[in-house]
């Protein structure tokens, strides 16, 4: 048994150095040059060059003039700092399909969407009333975005058609026409919406 001790210790040290230091550091070094934006969190900036969030991490919106994201199970907002270090991680609700709490949550969310736009009588797209897996979902379905167009247009005093065109512009289909699901990035859409409102104000 003792004869295997030296190989065990030395191999562990060497493989640790290769796989635990050299490999991650080499990848970090290469992507810092080649894919620097992605490697550092795909951060979006506003017109003034100020970082306003990551394209990949959902932000919470509750005002009628913004498109709302998927409801987050992480209350109230994931990845926020109240006083210093990171506190709430994103997570799913983990509510089972027969859990009354899930039914109640969906009922509450449907009521909230309906209250925000009583004129909209159609069925609510399921992704708008169910929480995502990560609690950080950056996207909603195109159906979920169209569902909110009337409310957003009204709150901003914009023509419905104009907002609809904007939504259409931000729809991402399945990758290669096959993979994944169609989606709309909420943060990008809302940033574009703010720009659109600004443009319209300056025209007036």
């Amino acid at each position: 048994m003792w004869s295997q001790c030296r190989p065990a210790i030395v191999v562990l040290i060497l493989l640790s150095a290769v796989t635990g230091l050299a490999y991650p550091l080499l990848v970090t070094g290469i992507v810092a040059v080649v894919f620097s934006w992605q490697a550092n969190g795909s951060v979006l900036k506003n017109g003034a060059g100020k970082p306003v969030g990551s394209r990949l991490i959902g932000q919470y919106f509750s005002e009628p003039k913004y498109f709302w994201p998927r409801p987050s199970a992480t209350s109230p907002v994931p990845y926020t700092s109240y006083n210093g270090p990171l506190e709430d991680c994103g997570s799913g609700s983990n509510l089972g399909p027969t859990n009354p709490a899930l039914f109640a949550a969906v009922q509450r969310r449907v009521a909230r969407l309906r209250a925000a736009d009583p004129a909209e009588k159609g069925p609510v797209p399921v992704d708008m009333v169910t929480s995502s897996a990560s609690g950080l979902d950056p996207d909603i379905s195109p159906a979920g975005a169209y569902y909110q167009v009337a409310r957003v247009a009204k709150a901003r005093g914009l023509p419905v058609a104009e907002v609809k065109t904007l939504v259409k512009h931000f729809i991402r289909g399945r990758d290669f026409g096959i993979l994944g699901a169609p989606r709309v990035n909420v943060l990008e859409l809302n940033l574009a919406l703010n720009r659109l409102s600004l443009d319209n104000q300056s025209k007036d």
Partner: protein, 592 residues
């Protein structure tokens, strides 16, 4: 189910099958020490390792020495992971100043990662420093996978051996698996993932301003012990970063599954879009599937490998389709609320609770089946919120013993145990001494195979029972009724088969679950590795007997079907009662 769902499943399976032969042939070359194309860029590292470690690469080991080397190496690795977690507060590469991990959690995590389970009772972004992620967890992602591959190769040498004690040299198998196979594949995958948006940096977390600041009421307890409502303004969001891509690549390829972030591959920084998702889910099954071909090559008859691969596919494909179908059907309770769940060109539809928009139900359910068929256990959706039958699929795939592809190496050596059982039963039926690939299967071989087949189910059912009758077990449950039982059964199935995925509503970061889970993961890993190596040793000592008219062919469709029947029968007989109490009862509740 939509046409797109069928197309996505078809594309996934086609690409997987297409890669089996090239990668399988490459790995056979690596293990047989033949030129494989990487001899120049990697060979010098290999030789340097042997020289510094005093390893003579052509010195063979008998099975006992091989087993001691495996256990010693894994024990040392566990100590390092435990130590790094406990000491990370005073070590470098910790920009968020995270403190020491608690002893029970550190124990659970150490065993979890050395045993290739990667069960996680913690959130990476708030618990583990960059140094621990790299030097502890990433390293074990590599070497625990390489350990499984080495044990498989030792078993293959046992099958091939002619009256010898020699089953190879563990250090050589370990080093070659890591440097020639896992490292190059991970390197390529890591770069591809970063190009899609997976983060990879040593910089600290980033703070950004929210576009719409959020106001909410927080109830806190004041000094007098009274609860007061306090209005809080949230103006910032924190973006957690880290060397994620390098770890995620190997977590998928090595069937580890431990997430860099808490929500694993559902996290947009781990799995930003459908392309990264496709690469990651492909990486889950890639090596375990290709090893079937490697096996065929190494035993000198590739049909033997294809027969096992076919048996795995026959079980996997219908279960994957079933899972996708169940999730597409959605939750019947929502219809009364005016919720639209029908799939269309404008939305994925289906049961979207606990799923990401960019993946929809199809990519989520394909992943759920793949990650539990392989003993990977990473998740891109929350299995706890699956429909009852959709959740039954991943649970049962684990309970089959992680042999439908299974872990890298461990899946195939587990499946070979079922092969031995299948050959034995067939031999009993026709009244002949069973044999497999020229080796007689006798009492000792059957004992070892039976241990390997029965230890995991025994652990799963015993742990489920213990957790169900104790307060420390049941107090962790989130969902009421049958689903709560499913949460515990899923936990036991996951740790008892070294998978690592969860019905994550169960709060397992408690002393009971951490310690019990650690013990189960340890037993399920090493109580299988040692009998497997003993079996390898016993087979190696045997004479090779020539094929005769009485030999049961093990390369044809009939045998593949027989193998499927054996696996399904054992899995069904063992777990049907438990599944009836969990997902099946819940299904009846939901739909009737």
């Amino acid at each position: 189910m939509t046409p797109n769902a069928w197309i996505q499943m078809g594309v996934f399976l086609l690409v997987l099958v297409a890669l089996v032969k090239p990668l399988g042939a490459f790995m056979a070359r690596v293990y047989e020490g033949r030129p494989c194309g990487l001899d120049k860029p990697v060979g010098w590292m290999e030789r340097l390792t042997y020289r510094l470690a005093g390893i003579k690469p052509d010195q063979p080991m008998n099975w006992k020495t091989y087993a001691i080397a495996v256990l010693l190496f894994n024990l040392l690795g566990g100590l390092v992971v435990y130590g790094l977690q406990r000491l990370q507060g005073s070590l470098p590469l910790n920009p968020e100043h995270l403190g020491a991990v608690s002893p029970d959690l550190a124990w659970n995590t150490a065993i979890s990662f050395i045993s290739n389970t990667d069960w996680q009772s913690y959130n990476g972004e708030t618990t583990v420093s960059y140094l621990t992620q790299m030097l502890g967890l990433t390293v074990q992602n590599f070497v625990s996978a390489a350990t499984g591959m080495a044990v498989l190769v030792a078993l293959i040498r046992g099958i091939r051996g002619k009256q010898t004690e020699n089953i190879g040299n563990f250090w050589v198998d370990l080093v070659r698996s890591t440097l020639y196979i896992l490292l190059p594949l991970s390197f390529i995958l890591a770069l591809a993932l970063v190009s899609q948006g997976v983060v990879q940096t040593l910089a600290p977390y980033k703070k950004v301003s929210l576009i719409q600041p959020i106001r909410y009421t927080q109830s806190t307890t004041n000094a007098a012990g009274k609860s007061v409502n306090q209005t809080v303004w949230v103006k910032h969001q924190i973006l957690p970063l880290g060397p994620a891509a390098s770890q995620i690549a190997i977590k998928q390829l090595g069937t580890n599954g431990g997430g860099f972030f808490g929500v694993n591959s559902a996290h947009p920084f781990e799995n930003p879009n459908p392309i990264s998702n496709f690469l990651e889910v492909l990486a889950i099954l890639l090596i375990p599937a290709a090893l079937c071909y490697t096996f065929g090559r190494m035993v000198g008859d590739t049909r033997q490998g294809w027969a096992i691969f076919a048996a795995m596919m026959i079980i996997f494909v219908p279960l994957m389709v079933g899972c996708v179908w169940a999730e597409h059907a959605g939750n019947p309770k929502f219809a009364a609320l005016g919720v639209n769940q029908s799939p269309s060109a404008l939305m994925s539809g289906g049961n979207m609770e606990g799923k990401e928009t960019r993946f929809g139900v199809t990519d989520s359910a394909i992943w759920a089946a793949a990650t539990t068929a392989a003993s990977n256990g990473s998740v891109n959706s929350m299995h706890d919120s699956y429909t009852p039958l959709g959740g039954l699929v991943p649970m049962w795939l684990m309970e089959l013993g992680e042999v439908i592809f299974g872990g890298v190496g461990s899946g195939l050596y587990g499946m070979l145990m079922f092969v031995i059982v299948a050959v034995f039963i067939a031999g009993l039926m026709v009244g002949r001494t069973p044999e497999y690939l020229g080796k007689k299967i006798e009492a000792f071989e059957m004992k070892m195979a039976t241990i390997c087949v029965l230890v995991p189910p025994a652990m799963v059912l015993m742990m489920t029972a213990i957790a169900c009758v104790t307060v420390m077990g049941t107090s962790a449950i989130e969902n009421p009724g049958a689903h709560g039982f499913s949460e515990i059964l899923y936990w036991a199935s996951s740790v008892g088969n070294n998978n690592g995925s969860a019905f994550a509503g169960l709060s397992t970061n408690t002393v009971f679950y951490n310690i019990a889970g650690g013990i189960v993961m340890w037993i399920s890993r090493y109580f299988l590795i040692v009998p497997t190596l003993a079996l390898a040793g016993a087979l190696a000592r045997k004479k090779q007997i020539p094929v005769s008219s009485g030999t049961l062919p093990t390369h044809d469709a009939l045998f593949a079907g027989w193998l499927v029947a054996t696996v399904v029968l054992i899995g069904a007989l063992t777990f049907l009662p438990a599944l009836a109490l969990g997902p099946i009862v819940e299904y009846l509740h939901l739909w009737h």
